[in-house]
């Protein structure tokens, strides 16, 4: 059986990473809300991807594989920045939100980060990445019924959070 050389593997892998790492890290960031943690998640996923590259590249499943590792990761809630103390008083000091890191975060993003992890993941996969209920269930390793309930509750909370934005 002929297999690609290590150079070929490295070239193909590097091309994939160059093309998709920004998108994959945005997924990680949307899930965890912290660029450092997103970087760690991305690195973990991409190193595993390198190991599995021959069969995944052959089957065209590179991105799905990396994404699944990212969205299935256990998020370290203690590192999430919105749990840190913010300067000013929310709702009373309009400058407080502007002092968050320069990450172009919007009210929508902050509202997403207030959702419980699984609700956030299902909303992101269903309503941002456009996955079906079945695909989301497969991606997260949960039942379709659980996907539906998490998504429904997540959307409700998202709307409430956005409605009550200062």
């Amino acid at each position: 059986m002929s297999r690609p050389s290590r150079e070929t593997r490295d070239e193909e892998y590097a091309a994939f990473v160059a093309a998709r790492q920004t998108h994959l890290r945005r997924i990680a960031y949307a899930v965890c809300g912290d660029w450092h943690q997103a970087d760690d998640l991305l690195q973990t996923a991409l190193v595993k991807l390198y190991v599995a590259w021959p069969r995944l590249h052959r089957d065209g499943r590179e991105e799905a594989y990396a994404r699944r590792i990212i969205v299935r990761a256990n998020i370290d809630e203690h590192r999430r920045p919105w749990r840190r103390e913010r300067p000013g008083l929310d709702g009373h000091d309009p400058t407080a939100r502007e002092e968050l890191p320069l990450e172009e975060r919007s009210a929508m993003f902050d509202a997403l980060q207030t959702l419980p992890v699984m609700q956030r993941k299902t909303v992101l996969l269903r309503h941002w990445l456009g996955l079906s209920v079945e695909e989301t269930a497969h991606e997260l390793g949960i039942s379709t019924g659980t996907v539906k309930s998490h998504t429904s509750r997540g959307i409700d909370k998202l709307q409430q959070a956005l409605t009550h934005q200062p």
């Binding site: 150079e7 960031y29 190193v47 599995a52 590259w53 990450e103 993003f109 997403l112 941002w128």
Partner: protein
């Protein structure tokens, strides 16, 4: 604005990425560790089976560059050469058997630190040209070989592929099973054994009588895919052989077992 667009536009692209070369280097190291672990397990099995290390297919003779070392007619010093191997390690040094012709030698392809050793050799032994990769670790002597040019452009390419990827069929398969301290084979964390049989009678070419063996269909936690796997526990090491998912689609567990028995009966195996 659609929710999808709102989310898409709700945050930026973040800071600069880490260098891709850093990822490649980490990936290579991870593969090398897996490769070394797989090689050790495979070779331990060969030793237990008492089989020879000679390749099964005939190699080409006398092709390529002139030899860089020809042996010797004299046998190197050290203990009696009991195994049918062209090379061995004695006291931390590579020894080449009398009569072996070395065409090319790549030292330490795994980049081990002492006392671990590794060597790759393009050699002719008993009239057969083989590409050989050997290592000496705390687990003992490991040895694998291939018929030259069997899918690789050059000896260097073959060595790079062996070092850079796991053993054939085992490069990157998700973890499905683990060995407990009690010697039981169970699903690895997060994975689920859907069907299982112990001692599936895969034959002596798979493992000698008395060796704990088994077969199962396991839903891997890593990618959520079901895999048909067979395993053997040799010298306290679990060796899991995984088959590609597309090879198992539509087959019953009994059909998979029959297929596996046939593969090991004809000497091809599942790797």
């Amino acid at each position: 604005m659609l929710l999808r667009e709102e989310i898409e536009q709700s945050f930026g692209a973040g800071p600069a990425h880490r260098p891709i070369e850093e990822l490649v280097a980490k990936g290579r190291r991870r593969v090398r560790r897996r490769r070394a672990a797989g090689l050790g397990a495979a070779l331990a099995t060969v030793a237990v089976l008492g089989a020879t290390y000679a390749v099964t297919a005939p190699g080409s003779e006398g092709s390529g560059a002139p030899p860089i070392a020809t042996d010797p007619t004299s046998t190197p010093s050290g203990p009696t050469w009991e195994d049918d191997t062209p090379i061995r390690y004695v006291d931390g040094e590579l020894q080449i058997r009398a009569g072996v012709v070395v065409h090319e030698h790549i030292e330490n392809p795994f980049g081990y630190d002492p006392p671990k050793l590794s060597d790759a050799l393009d050699l002719t032994y008993e009239g057969k040209r083989t590409w050989t990769l050997a290592e000496s670790t705390r687990k003992g002597f490991g040895y694998t070989s291939s018929v030259p040019s069997n899918g690789w452009a050059s000896f260097a390419d073959w060595v790079a592929d062996q070092v850079g990827t796991a053993v054939p069929g085992d490069d990157g398969w998700p973890d499905t099973l683990r060995l407990t301290n009690n010697g039981e084979v169970v699903a690895s964390q997060g994975s689920e054994i859907l069907q299982r049989t112990d001692d599936p009678r895969l034959g002596d070419s798979f493992a000698p009588p008395g060796t704990p063996t088994g077969a199962a269909v396991v839903l891997a936690a890593e990618d959520g895919v079901g895999y048909f796997v067979v395993w053997r526990v040799v010298d306290g090491e679990l060796d899991v052989i995984t088959t590609p998912p597309r090879d198992v689609i539509g087959a019953t567990f009994q059909q998979l077992l029959t297929y596996a028995r046939g593969q090991y009966a004809n000497g091809e195996g599942l790797r």
